[in-house]
């Protein structure tokens, strides 16, 4: 491991200071494209997994083969499952050369003021970004409280009982085709256990504790927040993440026990060749609070509907999502709220922007089971369409098996009002600057929920998108 990274990386938009790094074991593996039982067996062998995990993977693989491609959402016909690497050992990772990167991505890095070492990591030029800065004290502090924060492969080895108790319980392999695929070939991801009553004050960030596998194509994340505990977890990054692989299919499972709180923030900005098909679900128990904050800027097609199952009375669920669909992009994103118990409440706020022929769809489900009386749900989706070539759709599904509930749904679609543009332009702003300001304001209710450095980068990125210099 080299230690080229400066002790304190200078990052233009704030400090990603909570960095971690875990060593990757050196496996001997020869990667090849395509998916079959052999590949899945090899993956499991290399990782020296227990038999139950191999069985789990193989069963999932069968389900994957059986399930048809979803007919709704985005266009998936160009996705060729046999033309994809399903497992790549860290040291075998294809390192892209800096020169071969698309111009727009390089430009964006420069405009965002991302430091050299970090740029190379994001661009896939460097397989790992070394950041061991505050690893010591923070990790020790968490460990003293009994918090487990590690990558998912290590968790399977080091905490086998805890792992097995929860793994695959929130999202079974049979949930959907892509959850099955992930279950068969998963690698990396984060595993977090927060013990009873432990409150983690600062957001835990996956960004710079990423080792090569963490932000892989098929990462698997499992978070257990025990009774009365709380955590804010942040993954992804606002800067464009270049991947030469065309499929990203993650699974995130979260269990929020009684009186616990969990907020999970994601910013996704994959390069525009990536299919981003992610299954995220949380189970929220009595008087707990689960929040998804989800931003989707990149990818060719994203299909992602973070779900919350409200399992016991008093559970609350909230999803805030932003999608920005630019030229050549389809963001099919939304949320699912399933009220399984009485006196539960949920809220969905979705904001989408489409521009340059991009398409943004809100797809959401609010479901109330028949015993779940006195439930409340509030859904607000606002779409902003910036030009006539772009498109926005709303697919709100509501299934209610109970009369005694309060469900509200509001949707609006707007264009930038001429009067707003005139007002800002009459104060010296160019049309581009004025539009960017209106868009930034449109998503402000969401952006202000992000950690500071993400918020700043997000706004900067919106400005770049509006200039048309990106993607």
């Amino acid at each position: 491991m080299s230690t080229e990274a400066p002790a304190t990386p200078e990052i233009g938009v704030g400090d990603y200071q909570y960095g971690f790094h875990y060593g990757t074991e050196d496996y001997v593996f020869r990667g090849r494209k395509g998916i079959d039982r052999d590949i899945v067996k090899q993956i499991s062998q290399i990782k020296k997994e227990p038999k139950w995990m191999l069985d789990f993977r193989l069963e999932a693989l069968d389900i994957f083969f059986q399930k048809p491609m979803p007919k709704w959402g985005g266009a998936l016909s160009e996705l060729d499952f046999q033309d994809i690497f399903y497992y790549v050992r860290a040291s075998d990772k294809q390192e892209t050369s800096w020169e071969s990167l698309p111009d727009d991505i390089r430009k964006t890095y420069d405009r965002l003021g991302i430091p050299e070492a970090e740029k190379k990591y994001l661009a896939g030029v460097k397989a790992q970004y070394e950041s061991e800065v505050v690893y010591g004290s923070l990790q020790e502090d968490l460990a003293n409280k009994g918090v487990i924060f590690t990558d998912t492969d290590s968790a399977l080895r080091e905490h086998p009982e805890l792992f097995r108790e929860y793994f695959g319980t929130v999202i079974p392999s049979a949930d959907n085709k892509f959850a099955a695929l992930n279950s068969a070939v998963w690698s990396g991801g984060s595993f977090i256990y927060v013990p009873k009553g432990v409150q983690i004050e600062f957001p835990l960030q996956a960004y710079f504790r990423i080792n090569s596998e963490n932000m892989g194509q098929f990462e698997r994340t499992l978070i257990i927040v025990d009774e009365g505990a709380s955590i804010h977890y942040v993954e992804g990054c606002t800067a464009p993440t270049y991947s030469s692989e065309s499929l990203h299919s993650a699974v995130v499972e979260i269990i929020v026990k009684r009186n616990a709180r969990c907020r999970y923030t994601t910013i996704q900005n994959w390069s525009n060749n990536v299919y981003n098909l992610v299954t995220k679900r949380a189970m929220a128990y009595g008087d707990s609070l689960m929040e998804w904050v989800d931003g989707n800027l990149g990818s060719k097609l994203t299909m992602k509907y973070p779900a919350i199952y409200l399992m016991e009375p008093g559970a609350r669920g909230e999803t805030l999502s932003i999608a920005f669909a630019n030229h050549g992009q389809h963001q099919d994103a939304g949320a699912k709220m399933v009220h399984c118990a009485p006196h539960t409440s949920s809220r969905i706020i979705s904001k989408s922007i489409s521009k340059g022929g991009g398409r943004a769809s809100y797809r959401g489900l609010v479901k109330v089971e028949n015993n779940a009386h006195h439930c409340k749900s509030n859904v607000v989706c606002d779409a902003l369409i910036l030009d006539s070539a772009s498109r926005s759709d709303t697919y709100p599904y509501i299934e209610v098996d109970q009369d005694n509930v309060a469900i509200e749904h509001e949707a609006s679609v707007s264009k930038i009002a001429e009067e707003q543009l005139l007002y800002l332009m009459s104060r010296g702003m160019t049309e581009t600057e004025a539009s960017a300001m209106i868009v930034t304001g449109f998503i402000e209710p969401l952006v202000k929920e992000l950690p500071m450095e993400y918020a700043v980068e997000m706004n900067r990125l919106i400005e770049l998108q509006m200039e048309g210099s990106v993607g």
């Binding site: 001429e418 800002l424 009459s426 702003m429 209106i438 304001g441 402000e444």
Partner: protein, 289 residues
């Protein structure tokens, strides 16, 4: 070139409106308006509803719906007709809107920092750096205090949830920060209680001076009491039919427009026929919805 610019800098700027004809959605509204405003002068523009006062204001600032069919607008001999609202603002034009719009999610301070940076650096390109935060904050705080505004306003979203008076004060704050060469105040005193009118009127008085030419569009007298115009223009049916001094404004305020209509029967007849026309396009659309 260099010499002539120097010569101009030594003089006060001149906003010249020459025989301006303007249509909105192919409907002619202004029928040849001419007006000259020098930096440091205060002009009042009065006239009954629908006479074209706001049309003139929107046309000056470059509203895309207001089409100049003939005539021109110039600042120091440079025509503005083809410039967009942004470029006009950077040349020193400012309109205090009668109905300022709400921009949700955009903080007053962010908006003003962009605006001030652009207007003070007319050559600025998108993405170039903004006025330093500390310097900007200091200036903003000072201007807000001078206008008796709570600095809390800087953190609110632009005009969102503002009362009528707060919106108008926000326009005056922008005027104070942008220090334009020419300010057009479109009924900045309308819809306000007397306290708010006083605040706004005093604000304008503090801000105007030898560096600012002001065109005040108003129905009321208070704004003009605080800001006595050297010239008063009366508009009727899309034309300026009379020009006088402050006394004319006073007379109109006391006696209304009956005498003006008597003295200008042609325009009065045109005004009458405009009122008898089917409703304007804008209203018709609203009904259709």
């Amino acid at each position: 070139m260099r010499l002539s610019k120097k010569v101009r800098d030594g003089m006060s700027s001149l906003l010249k409106i020459i025989d301006l004809h303007v249509s909105v959605e192919d409907k002619p509204i202004l029928h040849g308006v001419s007006l000259e405003i020098r930096q440091g002068e205060i002009h009042a523009l009065m006239g009954p509803n629908g006479s074209g006062k706001s049309t003139l204001a929107y046309t000056l600032v470059g509203h895309p719906k207001y089409e100049i069919t003939s005539g021109s607008i110039e600042v120091d001999g440079t025509p503005l007709n083809e410039l967009d609202p942004c470029e006009r603002a950077r040349k020193g034009l400012f309109l205090a809107f009668q109905y300022p719009v709400t921009i949700p999610g955009v903080k007053v301070s962010d908006f003003l920092r962009h605006a001030v940076t652009n207007v003070r650096n007319p050559e600025r390109k998108d993405g170039e750096s903004l006025m330093p935060m500390r310097e900007f904050r200091k200036e903003l705080k000072q201007k807000m205090e001078e206008l008796g505004m709570d600095t809390e306003f800087a953190r609110r979203y632009l005009n969102e949830g503002f009362s009528g008076g707060e919106k108008k004060r926000m326009e005056i704050l922008q005027l104070a920060m942008l220090q334009p060469k020419f300010a057009i105040l479109d009924e900045t005193d309308s819809g306000l209680d007397s306290d708010a009118v006083r605040v706004v009127s005093e604000g304008v008085r503090k801000l105007s001076g030898p560096q600012m030419g002001v065109l005040i569009i108003t129905h009321h007298e208070r704004l003009l009491e605080y800001n006595v115009p050297q010239f008063t223009h009366v508009m009727l049916a899309g034309k300026i039919v009379e020009t006088g001094d402050a006394a004319l404004a006073h007379e109109l305020h006391n006696h209304g427009y009956a005498q003006i209509r008597e003295r200008h029967p042609v325009e009065a007849a045109e005004e009458q026929s405009r009122q008898n026309r089917p409703e304007t396009v804008g209203v018709a659309t609203a009904v259709a919805k």
